[in-house]
Every structure is written in C-alpha cells, then in structure tokens.
Symmetry: C2
DNA sequence: GGACTCCCATTGCGTCACAAGGGGTGATAT
DNA sequence: ATATCACCCCTTGTGACGCAATGGGAGTCC
C-alpha cells in the first residue's frame, strides 16, 4: 500500500477545509468526514492534522469559531468561513489547478521536448 | 505573483525529476531546465531544492550518477534512472493522479453531499 | 456502569521546499 | 589578458506542516 506516500497533502488540506465550510458552518469532525466522503475515502484526515489546521486557518483570519451543539447533542466547535476565507478558497483553488495542470502536463509528456 | 504559495511542490518534485531522466541521463541543471520548460515556466526549481532532491533520490537507489562533460564542455554530474526509479516513477505518478483526481473532485463539488 | 461513538486537543517527530551563500570553470567580449 | 557572464555544483539554516501517539470529556445504549 502507498509505498512512497510523500504526503501530497501539503497545501491542499487548507483548501479542502475551506471548501467543506463553503456551504455553512461545520464542526471539525464533520469537516473531516466531508473530506473523506467527497474524495471517496481517498483522502483521510487524521485528527492530529485536522485540528492544528483549523487553528491555523483561524489564526490567519480565514475562518472563525463558536461553541455549539452538534446534531447528536454534543459539545462541538463550529467553524464558519469568513470573507477572507472565501476569497482564499477562490484564489487558492485557482493556483492549485494551475499547479496540477502544469505538473500533470509534464508527467504525461511523451517526448523530452515540450510538445 | 504567487500570492499564497503554500508549496504544493511537496512530493511532486521527485516525480518530475524522475520523469526528466526518463529519456536518458541528464545533469542537474538540465533537469531543472526541463521542468521549467515542460511546465511552461509555471514550476521553477531552486538550486537549494534541486540538488538535495537529487541526492535524496540517489540515496534511495532510484537514480545514480557519474561525472561527465556537458554539451558546453563543462564538468557536470549526469544522473541516470535506475530500474527502481523507473518503477517508482510509474507507481508515484499513478498515486499522484489518484490524489489529484480525488482532491479536484472535492474542490469542484457544487453540493455538500457527494454527487 | 461498561462500552462505544463523537468531538476536542497537544506533543514530538520527520520530511522537505526554499532562501541565502559559496565555489569553480568555460566562453565571450573588451 | 582579464573581466564578465552563463553554466554547474554544493551546503546550511529555517520554517512549515502532515502525522502518529496520546489523553480527555461527554452523550447514548445495553
């Protein structure tokens, strides 16, 4: 299984979190679940990855949080996308796509000289 | 330029280097040039990124090196893809594509529930 | 009241992209 | 000839961040 696994997650996680919040406030656990579902279980977010990431985004002012109660009547911190976060989601997704397209083109090249 | 720039390079660089060598031995400088060309200057490899990466791949046994002379009659270290490296290029590219596809699907989602 | 799920968090670790800095050699021009 | 430039190699910080491991508390169900 995932022999080489050099954490391609780098830089993509933030975008996925912002995206998860783009339809309304969610608590951390639900964010992780959404990412797993939305990627057909290809991407699994560990808790030790998730919460630091949420705090990071909060520190950057892209999201903000309030304590509340989950559907299951449990104490949970709900994160909400701020305007800056929405802007970042747009900008970040755009440059993510440019990156992926460029790298993908290179990786699919069939001749050393650019076609 | 590159506003947020969260180094998406992570994990992709190794693949690009292996790919650059897939048509025959090249020296480091030429590898970096190829990556730049093949990505239409979207991806630029710093020297402080390139050389450690080459040494890393060599240590892993994926590539090997010999000193030689470049086209310009300059002393240069030529890297050659080993069998293990070629296998890694295949496997790594495959999981890279699965990752990109999954993340891309999530980032393009238009409804919270998986379509 | 034991077990389970949900939900939050932290610490330590390792990897790695990158900026900054250093060095040597061939070609080209003044 | 010597200055300049392009080519080509390298190392040492530093910071970011994904992740495994670990711990805790609070609802639910038997």
């Amino acid at each position: 299984m995932h022999d080489l696994d050099v954490s391609l997650m780098r830089g993509t996680l933030d975008l996925l979190i912002l995206k998860a919040l783009s339809w309304g406030p969610q608590h951390g656990y639900a964010v992780a679940e959404w990412i797993e579902r939305a990627t057909s279980s290809t991407l699994l977010i560990e808790e030790g990855t998730l919460y630091p990431a949420l705090h990071r985004l909060e520190r950057k002012g892209w999201i903000e949080a309030d304590w509340g109660l989950s559907d299951n009547n449990r104490r949970a911190k709900f994160y909400r996308l701020r305007r800056e976060g929405r802007a970042q989601l747009r900008a970040g997704t755009s440059s993510w796509q440019r990156f992926v397209e460029a790298a993908g083109r290179a990786l699919r090249a069939t001749a050393p000289r650019t076609a």
